[in-house]
Assembly symmetry: C2
Homo-oligomer: 255 residues x 2
């Protein structure tokens, strides 16, 4: 259904190079994933269509932003009605590359790694964790969640063989850079880093980071700012409909 994903630029694309896969802002991509999840919930609830206003409220953004976001993927909502839940879902899955799944490797099976390995299917259909690595002799060789833990030194062999495209690093900080280098050498160009360090990588590698300490410190900053303020915070600008939300930011944490 629906047309091939157009560039949606107002001006005619005179020189279309193969495929137009760019032009979607970074920030938009992250929100598309959120919309997709909300659509899943709506679909479960039996909804067939949804308005931008409704979907936006459930996603914690305003409706103009949502419509602009969807315009990047060349969506076809129906004016006066809204969006078809099912087809928008499929559209988003296709854009995000979820139509064929990505094999994920997880390095570092400590407390956090364990939790991540167990996270399993994530929200909906997921990212299969295909390979686990650690250096602890107690862990190496034993299975977790049905997957055998390999030694980190096997990354160069195992990852390409398993077709791993995404790596998650949940090691202690000191080990993270070394592990990262090995993943990159093994052809893994997308990395999600949970270790509290900034990773140095070549330009073609995409790193996103999830940094607990930073998140807490940002919150602490705001706590500090609002101390002794009591009346104050009534200036939210425009009165929101009902549903509001603190702010933006999102795992924004990427380095």
């Amino acid at each position: 259904m629906t047309l091939p994903p157009q560039a949606t630029s107002p001006t005619a694309e005179t020189t279309a190079p193969e495929r137009v896969v760019k032009a979607i802002p970074e920030a938009t991509v992250a929100r598309l994933a959120v919309y997709l999840r909300v659509l899943g919930q709506l679909a479960e609830g039996g909804a067939e269509t949804v308005s931008s206003e409704e979907l936006a409220a459930l996603s914690g953004v305003n409706s103009a932003k949502l419509r602009k976001d969807l315009s990047y993927i060349g969506t076809h909502g129906i004016r006066g009605v809204g969006y078809d839940v099912a087809s928008l879902q499929h559209e988003l899955e296709k854009v995000l590359g979820l139509d064929h799944p990505q094999a994920v490797a997880l390095v570092g099976v400590g407390n956090l790694g364990h939790a991540l390995a167990g996270y399993g299917g994530f929200g909906g259909r997921g990212f299969p964790v295909t390979a686990l690595f650690d250096v602890d002799p107690e862990l190496v060789g034993s299975p977790i969640n049905g997957i055998e833990v390999r030694h980190v030194r096997d990354i160069p062999r195992v990852c390409p063989a398993a077709g791993v495209t995404i790596g998650m690093i949940a090691t202690p900080a000191q080990a993270a850079q070394g592990v990262c280098d090995q993943l990159v050498a093994a052809g893994v160009h997308s990395i999600l880093n949970f270790a509290p360090t900034v990773l140095q990588v070549p330009a073609e590698v995409e790193v996103r980071k999830v940094d607990l300490a930073v998140e807490l410190q940002v919150l602490a900053f705001h706590v500090a700012g609002h101390r002794s303020a009591d009346a104050g915070i009534t200036d939210s600008g425009t009165a929101a409909p009902q549903v509001v939300h603190g702010r933006n930011g999102s795992a924004v944490a990427t380095s």
Copy 2:
């Protein structure tokens, strides 16, 4: 040491309202926390001063951005030399509100919650997890990491008593909104959400979210985009010195 934190605005502050605690961009605050961590490592290594170029490289940003960031807090580096590591550390700690610690409550002590509770002191001096909550009768009453797990229904009583200012939610998605409402009612206005849902909160509450599924989907998007591209990605614009990094984004995940 050092002067009181000035607003750093170019124009003279004619109407200074009590204290000038704003004017620092959201994105800058997150990076300040990163600089602080790197400074900690430098201090351990025995460094006394550091140049913006050096600190920036270690933090994965360019030096102009770093200097601009520091300018917001009215820093006093020494031209021709750099920054004093120790005093910059203290300056950053003060700005981020780390001089007196924030009590943190963690709700949801499953796999992930366990890992978070154990994370303990985080990078350096930390955010003491002061209270744990869950609904599982098996967990409630038993101690984890020396802290007794309480029932979620006790949030309204325990949190104010313990002076909790920051809440972390690591429950299943269905439970998250309810828990959030209770935290807010208990006066907790800064929340870090690990559950895969968008939380609806009043405007005075700051929510940051850490969303695994979103992070992975953003990475998947980029994997999809670079498929079949082989030569391509040489257009990084300016040639970076040596150290580079994928991109930005950071836990950007806030809703």
